[in-house]
């Protein structure tokens, strides 16, 4: 089963998104902040990470950088989720190594499309 790590500090958003993703057949692991995300990337070994960038102590950007810096987790595709469709956010997500980018509130079908595309791409890169 495909496993996603959902990094999100807001409980409602976490619950909502995870329920809808589980219904789509994904297995979901959670991280509530940046450090948990970095640790979760190692311990859960997810196929893909959904990263909210507006986290408390450690921003989603920093967590992404840390995950990408670790060879064991560097290959996990990461989709950044931000509140605004700002050009600077888009640029930053590419800089830190995210493979895609979406805005919140999520348009669920669109997000699903991005998740599938990223998974296919990651599989191709590995083989």
């Amino acid at each position: 089963m495909t496993k996603l790590l959902l990094v999100e500090d807001n409980e409602n958003n976490r619950d909502m998104l995870s329920r809808r993703l589980i219904r789509q057949g994904f297995e979901i692991a959670f991280a509530l902040d940046g450090p948990e995300a970095v640790a979760g990337a190692v311990s859960e070994n997810p196929d893909l990470i959904l990263m909210d960038v507006a986290l408390g102590a450690m921003s989603g950007w920093d967590a992404t950088l840390a995950i990408k810096a670790n060879p064991a987790t560097a290959d996990i595709p990461i989709i950044a989720l931000t509140a605004h469709a700002l050009a600077s956010d888009r640029k930053r997500s590419v800089e830190v190594g995210c493979c895609d980018y979406d805005t919140k509130p999520v348009d669920f079908p669109r997000l699903l499309g991005k998740i599938h595309a990223a998974l296919v791409h990651a599989k191709e890169a590995q083989s």
Partner: protein
């Protein structure tokens, strides 16, 4: 009262002699006025001295005639000033004439004990008044005094002072007249100078008052600007806070819709919650965008896009909403338009707002979105027009539409207006941001045309005539190429890590 009248008349008379270039500068004009006052009035006062000599001295000869001539010679100076300008040169010549008058009369009428010695004081007083603050001219004057003093001293040493032909009584009378005249003269000049100074001080304080007012205005403007930024900041923050619970409302209603067993009433109610949530989110987003623009924090990006595709995308997105009103949206794109460089996201928002607005006010009609080359004669590259056959907008409302947060006064409540009151002002501000022009034409009963013009160069560039379908410029290709190279390098690095992991 009478005195000030005379003074005004004197001033008017003097001013007639002041050349235009001197009159233009306030300091020059004041100096020239004092110069003219003393030259016009001076001979009347100074003339009393040779007159007294002529009356009391039994021998009337060249001495008193020369004195008369040189004193009334001062009257030549005003016309000379009027004719030739050359103020400083005339001042030096005039001072020289004054020194000559005084030393001449002293020499012939009593030497160092002459009743005319008092007049010596007038020389520096007048001279320095004439030249004002010019350091060079002050130096020239001091040199002039020294040379004159030296010449006079030498002459007195070589030739003994001639015997005075006047009686002691006559000399006493001359002494009295001369002293009174000198006093009157100095008094007159001091009064005139004081008057000029007072008006100068008044002017200065007026200037100071204006400067203070300007400073007050500046700080008030600064305060207003700061408080406006603070307000926009607050709205931006609040809007952001509002989005989080809205996300939950929309998201959970969607989950419930997924779960619903197909009960039509439940589905309808859930749809209403979701639609109302989305509507509210749209309003909040618009407020957020407006406040971001006003706080100067709206970002701008630029990329090469196909405007036809963009318009088609907007039409596709809004077709379902239009269908609810029985409207049909048609998108027409002039072929061969090529690419433009602009902020695609903002342009999409702009066109989206215009189309939404058209949809809100059209029932069972047709909305045409057309992308075409701008009319020749306009300094723009491309026009995106949104035409509807809605009720139209009265001419007096049109100018306000893009500026104020208006909603047309129709029987539809604001709940159904889709935030149209925010849509057009937001579209206008977004256009300003990306350097596009926006206009709305409308006729009541006939419909409305809203147009966005993307300018040539700068924010948007279109291929030259005959070269439509132009590729992005070289630097963009280069940027893409280097981005591709960087991505390939990362990919290669990752593969190596994988290989190592596989080996290990």
């Amino acid at each position: 009262m009478a005195l000030s009248n005379y003074l005004d008349q004197l001033t008017r008379f003097s001013d007639w002699f002041i050349p235009a270039d001197l009159a233009a500068n306030r300091e020059q004009r004041e100096k020239a006025r004092l110069f003219l006052y003393s030259h016009i009035c001076g001979p009347f006062i100074g003339g009393s001295v040779p007159l007294t000599i002529w009356l009391f001295d039994e021998t009337t000869d060249f001495r008193v005639v020369t004195l008369f001539a040189s004193i009334f010679g001062f009257w030549i100076f005003p016309p000379l000033l009027k004719m030739f300008g050359r103020y400083y040169l005339l001042s030096i010549v005039s001072v020289q004439n004054l020194i000559f008058c005084i030393l001449w009369s002293c020499y012939f009428y009593g030497g160092l004990s002459s009743p005319m010695v008092a007049w010596v004081l007038v020389i520096p007083l007048l001279s320095f008044m004439y030249v004002g603050s010019s350091a060079r001219m002050r130096g020239v004057l001091i040199g002039q005094f020294l040379v004159n003093g030296l010449i006079y001293y030498t002459l007195c040493n070589w030739f003994t002072s001639p015997a005075v032909t006047m009686t002691t009584g006559a000399l006493e009378a001359l002494g009295i007249v001369s002293t009174i005249a000198a006093c009157a003269y100095v008094t007159m000049m001091a009064l005139l100078y004081a008057t000029a100074l007072a008006s100068q001080v008044e002017l200065q304080s007026e200037v100071d008052r204006h400067l203070a007012t300007a400073a007050d205005l500046l700080s008030a403007t600064e305060d207003a600007r700061r408080s406006s930024t603070a307000k926009s900041d607050f709205i931006a923050r609040m809007s952001h806070e509002l989005r989080t619970p809205l996300n939950a409302i929309i998201g959970y209603s969607e989950i419930l819709l997924d779960d619903s067993e197909g009960d039509p009433v439940e589905t309808r109610d859930l749809n209403r919650i979701r639609e109302a949530g989305k509507h509210l989110l749209k309003l909040v987003n618009r407020i957020l965008d407006l406040s971001r623009i006003e706080a100067g924090r709206m970002e701008k990006s630029s990329e090469w896009i196909d405007c036809g595709q963009l318009a088609q995308g907007v039409v596709d997105d809004l077709a379902p909403a239009a269908a609810k009103h029985g409207d049909k949206i048609i998108c027409t794109v002039e072929p061969g338009l090529g690419l433009v460089s602009t902020d695609a996201h903002k342009l999409k928002q702009i066109v989206g707002n215009l189309v939404e607005n058209a949809v809100q006010y059209t029932r069972d009609g047709e909305i045409v979105v057309s992308v075409s080359r701008a009319e020749s004669g306009r300094d723009d590259a491309l026009r995106i027009a949104v035409r509807d056959k809605g009720p139209g907008i009265a001419a007096d409302r049109l100018p306000h539409l893009l500026n104020n947060f208006d909603v047309l006064d129709d029987d539809k409540g604001s709940a159904d207006s889709g935030g149209a009151g925010l849509g057009l002002p937001l579209a206008r501000r977004l256009c300003e941001l990306i350097g596009a022009n926006i206009s709305i034409e409308s006729k009541v009963g006939q419909g409305t045309v809203a147009s966005v013009w993307l300018p040539r160069g700068g924010a948007a560039t279109l291929g030259e005539e005959g070269d439509f379908g132009l590729a992005p410029p070289q630097q963009d290709i280069d940027a893409l190429a280097s981005l591709g190279a960087a991505m390939r390098a990362t990919q290669a690095q990752r593969s190596r890590v994988n290989d190592q992991a596989a080996v290990g």
